[in-house]
Symmetry: C2
Subunit: 416 residues, 2 copies
């Protein structure tokens, strides 16, 4: 019998076989090949530069995932690396924070309109989990309400990525509302009156494996009002979109004001750092909640963040991401239409999510991404993409050209 | 009225005043000056090299805290930095793991006797929290039992550092036993029969603000037996001591075998990485528990870890840490005795904890550390210290000499 399983290229195959021996699942978490196209997607990266990367078998890709977000200026950005190097010559992980710690807090407080203070960690989850603890400390209440289907990291309180390893008590006080449905928010707040510590939202809804949905007119403003009138802390999870839509935080694009906001991805161009900022009212509660980590005060990622954030502003990167994102999504929509395919590009152009309209089984999306990957463009089949500052018009056009061929193939071979 | 508050040096004072404006508590977590000697201890680090560092006012210290553990080879180790640089030239934070991910897992599996697989994160807490989820997934049970007073990171399940921000449900299934008291372990296991997912211990007891206590003969072996006969997962939190006592993990020093072991501090000489290893039996459960982070697959810290772990073995660093630790603790005990003071150095010499015998108010310890800090030796007053590979006999002797003067002053001026 013929073996129809896709053949991994030699080095990838060897390395994955070794990985499976010594690592649960071979590769786990958001990097698991099971989350992309097993057998087709690259499994291991070798090197990266600007908006391109190469896997261990030397296959080159135009990178439209930007490492799931951190790479906002392009891989191996020279200016960020130079500041990081400068700091590392002095030192990185000390007994104490460095001056960079204060400078970065000042920078965030200066650039995020409502921010009076900042704290730092390593992952998005660190910040979201800390923010929830601050809200519980401040309110003396237990419940956290969040958008149905939203991913807020792998903290125990948020079982979106499945319940494995968690216990009922972890999320007994977590409740969900429906995005853009004010009634479902009001219902929850009424049902749990006086018990809700925090409402947490993303600036727009970006669930896994589904279209992104922007906030309806007035929706986030209504959440802000509900929080104010019920003594609830409004936490913004701006980890994915933060600094890609506005250098002062995504809430400024959608005209609302949270109490605490969490950032990670785009803050330091891949150097490990996350941050949260908040209003003065919550500063004392924040100082009472003990959260820490061995490397949370390290100076190198903070130096990198200072440079990264300054470049984002100086080079008007937000505008560039939007322009390149628009060029890409318009190009993809037009290319698809040539072959009678209807695709939907949802979310802000800087973080586009592509889907085939009315497709429910992902067959066309998988076939499309497969063809693109095989021809040197890395599009993720069911996670939003991330434009970065290194993408130039020529890269976008090259990707659209490959996508054009992919759409043609999909239209001919994959039934709707 | 005269102001008796200690005067911070100029730059420190200025920077801390700025910090207080924009950061809860000014400096928080384990780095908070409130945890050392407020007003006296350095607050902000400027640079570090080998076993010495300088604060922002140019004050030089022999570093006996080694950044609370991560700096095992000395600050700015050239070999580790060179590998890290090499990797960074290729790339760090990709869409996929790098070859380093597999190599490091293989290295850990090859050097830790019971390990069949490895996983990675950024902080110690990441690994301990993941291990507990694996144990809950594997057993289908909820309860976690741990040593009274032990610090296992800032995860919600372990309220050792205070309950602020946590809710009762976070630790309703956490129960404590007394270190070296087999009866208290048996009692708990009997009381919660069939409900215990995990017993978690450190390789020896190193509570905050109290002497370290080595395991009594047979104690950890009895925990191992209890776990085996009750279907409980035995988790070792080797985050603090790991690779400082034995390059294959601290359990090998004390002759017991856990099911899962967690590492962080000494793994990559300050590059942000943590790891857990486990036996095959738990591999499937590990692959089912979703845990991830934006930077958890980054290649630079893994490259650094490979080099750091190889140097630890090649240079017999464990032996060096022990020899330097012994030289220091013997020197301190002898110096104290000259002035009629009795001090106790507890814990392994590589991670010594100094206290004044029968002192309950920490006045002498604070005065001792204050004098040492004022004269260029950073001893923490109530956290264990960490020897690193850069400490040479001359550094130790210099520190002992300063400590000698400090003991003399304490004996004369600070009542017992």
């Amino acid at each position: 019998m013929e073996d129809h399983r896709p053949q991994l290229p030699k080095k990838t195959q060897e390395l994955f076989e070794r990985a499976v021996q010594v690592i649960p699942g071979g590769i786990y978490g958001h990097n698991s090949p099971a989350n992309t196209i097993p057998g087709i997607a690259p499994y291991f990266a070798e090197r990266a530069e600007g908006c391109r990367y190469w896997d261990v078998d030397g296959r080159e890709y135009i990178d439209f995932l930007s490492s799931y977000g951190p790479i906002v200026l392009g891989h191996n950005n020279k200016e960020v690396n130079a500041t990081a190097d400068e700091q590392r010559k002095a030192g990185d992980c000390f007994n104490h924070p460095s001056e960079r710690f204060v400078e970065l807090a000042e920078y965030l407080v200066g650039s995020i309109d409502f921010a009076d203070w900042a704290i730092f960690g390593k992952n998005g989850s660190d910040m979201v989990n800390w923010a929830i603890k601050i809200a519980r400390e401040y309110t003396g209440r237990k419940k956290v309400i969040y958008i149905d289907g939203a991913y807020h990291g792998s903290g125990n309180w948020c079982p979106t990525r499945g319940p494995s390893g968690s216990i009922a008590e972890d999320h007994v006080h977590s409740h969900t509302f429906l995005w853009n449905d004010v009634h479902s928010v009001h219902d929850l707040v009424k049902r749990h009156k006086g018990q809700i510590a925090a409402i947490i939202t993303t600036p727009y809804h970006h669930p896994g494996g589904a279209d992104s949905v922007l906030p309806a007119e007035g929706f986030l403003q209504e959440i802000e009002n509900v929080c104010k009138s019920n003594g609830v802390v409004f936490i913004l999870d701006d980890i994915r979109a933060g600094f890609r839509l506005h250098h002062g935080g995504s809430h400024q694009v959608f005209n609302f004001t949270p109490d605490i906001s969490c950032y990670c991805k785009a803050i330091a161009n891949g150097y490990p750092l996350s941050a949260a900022v908040g209003r003065d009212e919550f500063k004392q509660a924040a100082s009472k909640v003990f959260m820490t980590g061995s490397y949370w005060f390290s100076a190198v990622p903070m130096a990198a963040a200072l440079t990264c954030l300054q470049i984002l502003k100086r080079d008007k990167v937000v505008e560039h991401l939007q322009a390149m994102g628009k060029r890409l999504t318009h190009g993809l929509e037009n290319a698809a239409a040539k072959y009678g395919l209807q695709v939907n590009c949802s979310g802000p152009p800087a973080l586009p999510y592509l889907s085939f309209i009315e497709e429910t089984n992902l067959m066309r999306m998988q076939a499309f991404c497969r063809y693109c990957m095989e021809n040197g463009v890395f599009f993720h089949p069911h996670h939003n993409w991330f434009i970065n500052a290194a993408h130039q018009e020529s890269d976008i056009d090259e990707a659209i050209n490959i996508a054009d061929h992919a759409f043609k193939k999909v239209a001919n071979k994959v039934p709707a």
